[in-house]
């Protein structure tokens, strides 16, 4: 059984229905990519998992327990950490305080200190800036802080929402290397990305969303070979136009 199982999830913001029956699952130890255009509902899926959005229908089962509708603090304690879109660091608090706040659900003092060192090894710049306010970090450094802060909770499952957004190519590669490394260490990751290329490279499995629904799912390598995905998500021009009606660009699902 998968670590995370979502079935027929529906969620709305007032009159706007953002999710129209989403089902997906994330196997333990895998990286699953969730792709889709702006406004498809990817962030809403992650927010429903972490309890910030309360879904209207459907079920979310994590490690065998139903977590749908629980308060966010219960969900973090259960072992899910969310690195939100836009980083959401505590800009007025120091880097170290941000990291300590990340370890909020834990009681094991000694292990927390050890994890702090591990995080500093992962992103040495954070060690140098530990007494600075998070607001003084660059966007990329804040993203490192956001990921590190989530790691401090020692989650079983990490939800990453567009970790590469707005970063320079070199930094994007560094972040993805960290994501791949985390998987090596046994972390399970649900990854939302605009950068479909990089995402499908590290991921084992992928889902593609459109207006609140999953429209396609497959192994990551299969998705990368799919002409429609290439055309609309990987930016390979002409890939889906190989058919007879070249003039009519249509997604084929």
């Amino acid at each position: 059984m998968a670590l995370l199982d979502i079935a027929n999830l529906e969620a709305s913001y007032g009159p706007v229905q953002a999710l129209r029956g989403v089902s997906l699952s994330v196997a333990e130890g895998s990286i699953v990519a969730l792709l889709g255009a702006n406004g498809a509902g990817k962030t809403t899926v992650l927010k429903s998992i972490s309890g910030v959005v309360v879904p209207e229908r459907g079920s979310i089962v994590f490690a065998g327990a139903a977590i749908s509708g629980l308060y966010p603090d219960r969900i973090v304690t259960a072992g899910i950490s969310h690195v939100p879109e836009g980083r959401e660091t505590f800009t007025a608090r120091t880097v170290q305080e941000n990291l300590t706040l990340g370890s909020w659900p834990r009681q094991d003092r000694g292990a927390i200190a050890a994890d702090l060192d591990r995080v500093f090894e992962l992103f040495p710049i954070l060690r140098d800036r530990r007494t600075q306010r998070a607001g003084q970090l660059s966007g990329g450094q804040q993203q490192m802080l956001a990921i590190s802060r989530a790691l401090m909770a020692r989650p079983k499952l990490m939800l990453l929402d567009e970790p590469s957004l707005g970063l320079a190519p070199l930094l994007v590669r560094e972040i993805f290397a960290v994501i791949a490394n985390l998987r090596q260490d046994g972390m399970t990751i649900l990854l939302v990305e605009q950068n479909a290329n990089m995402a499908l490279e590290v991921a084992d499995y992928g889902y593609i969303m459109e207006t609140g629904r999953i429209v396609m799912e497959d192994r990551a390598d299969v998705l990368r070979g799919n002409p429609t995905v290439q055309e609309f998500y990987l930016g390979i021009a002409g890939a889906a136009e190989a058919g007879p009606r070249r003039y009519k660009r249509r997604k084929q699902w």
């Binding site: 972490s50 309890g51 910030v52 308060y71 966010p72 603090d73 969900i75 973090v76 304690t77 950490s81 969310h82 939100p84 959401e88 660091t89 505590f90 800009t91 007025a92 608090r93 305080e97 300590t100 706040l101 990340g102 909020w104 659900p105 802060r149 989530a150 909770a153």
Partner: protein, 303 residues
């Protein structure tokens, strides 16, 4: 020869000034405590609590009940009353405010205004509309300090406020939960993502906010008597908070002190009646010169 005449005259003026300064600072401490709770609640929950002055009044009545009605020793009674206020604040949050989460600011303001009326009415039913004296161990005693004759009451208020402010500072600066409270006020969404129990943090904030108001009431009681309408004095906490830069805790404390001292010096140096409006004149002045308040963060915004 000239000196001999001049000197005592000078020291009388100076002593008068200093004594007035100390009594003003004592009043300012009370305003500061009310403003502090007000700002704490506003920063953590976004709620403008117009009943903060009434919480002060309830605190004074709780103190009075413990000490003069149940005949507990003063300090035990006072501590019990403050603890009861903390519980009372959490109860108000749970029963009246938490259910309103997500409602419009206006709706919430109406609720806190209604809460202030409700508290005044209930107090008048429970304790009666009379003005009651509530002495502390310092009442009607004076202390001589470097030639100044000061009311022990005033000195006690200043000392107690200083200790409390230092304690709160340490709490917010160094404890895990204090830091979590500040982080939650800064970015509630991020606090949720960290697994910080935001609702418990709000409850705790209401507890602390009501307890500080209660302390203000108990400190004020021996100086100004206890009565149902003493909460109107809490209206001074509002300019104090704004003066300091709405949302700044050090600002609320300094704002409270400035208003207390200004009022008190106005009694001495300005025509009668000015002391009542000194707070607002000062507020207008500061806001004209520095719209973000003394400690507020200046945010450049084009309108």
């Amino acid at each position: 020869m000239i000196r001999a005449i001049w000197r005592p005259a000078c020291s009388i003026v100076l002593i008068e000034f200093l004594q007035q300064l100390v009594s003003g600072a004592a009043a300012g401490c009370v305003y500061a405590m009310v403003a502090l709770g007000f700002v704490l609640i506003f920063k953590a929950t976004g709620i403008v609590n117009f009943a903060q002055g009434e919480l002060m009044m309830v605190g004074a009545f709780f103190g009075l009940t413990c000490v003069d009605i149940f005949h507990l020793p003063y300090w035990i009674g006072a501590i019990l009353a403050v603890a009861a206020m903390a519980v009372f604040g959490m109860l108000l949050n749970r029963v009246l405010l938490r259910p309103l989460a997500g409602q419009s600011t206006l709706a919430i303001i109406m609720v806190t205004l209604g809460m202030s009326i409700l508290l005044r009415a209930s107090a008048s039913v429970i304790w009666g509309p009379e003005t009651v004296a509530f002495d502390s161990p310092f009442s009607r005693k004076s202390v001589t300090l470097a030639g100044l004759v000061l009311s022990q009451e005033h000195v006690a208020i200043i000392v107690a406020t200083s200790l409390l402010v230092a304690g709160l500072f340490g709490f917010f600066r160094f404890t895990r939960i204090g830091i979590a409270m500040q982080a939650t006020s800064e970015n509630q969404l991020a606090a949720y993502y960290m697994g910080i129990p935001v609702r418990s943090i709000h409850a705790l904030t209401w507890g602390i906010g009501a307890a500080t108001a209660g302390i203000a009431g108990i400190m004020l009681a021996p100086v100004a008597f206890v009565h149902v309408n003493m909460g109107y004095l809490g209206l001074k906490a509002f300019p104090a908070a704004v003066l300091g830069g709405f949302g700044s805790i050090p600002g609320a404390i300094v704002g409270g002190l400035i208003i207390g001292i200004a009022e008190s010096l106005a009694v001495l140096y300005l025509p009668e009646g000015f002391n009542n409006v000194a707070a607002y004149i000062l507020l207008l002045l500061v806001l004209t010169l520095r719209p973000e308040g003394l400690f507020g963060v200046h945010t450049a915004r084009r309108v």
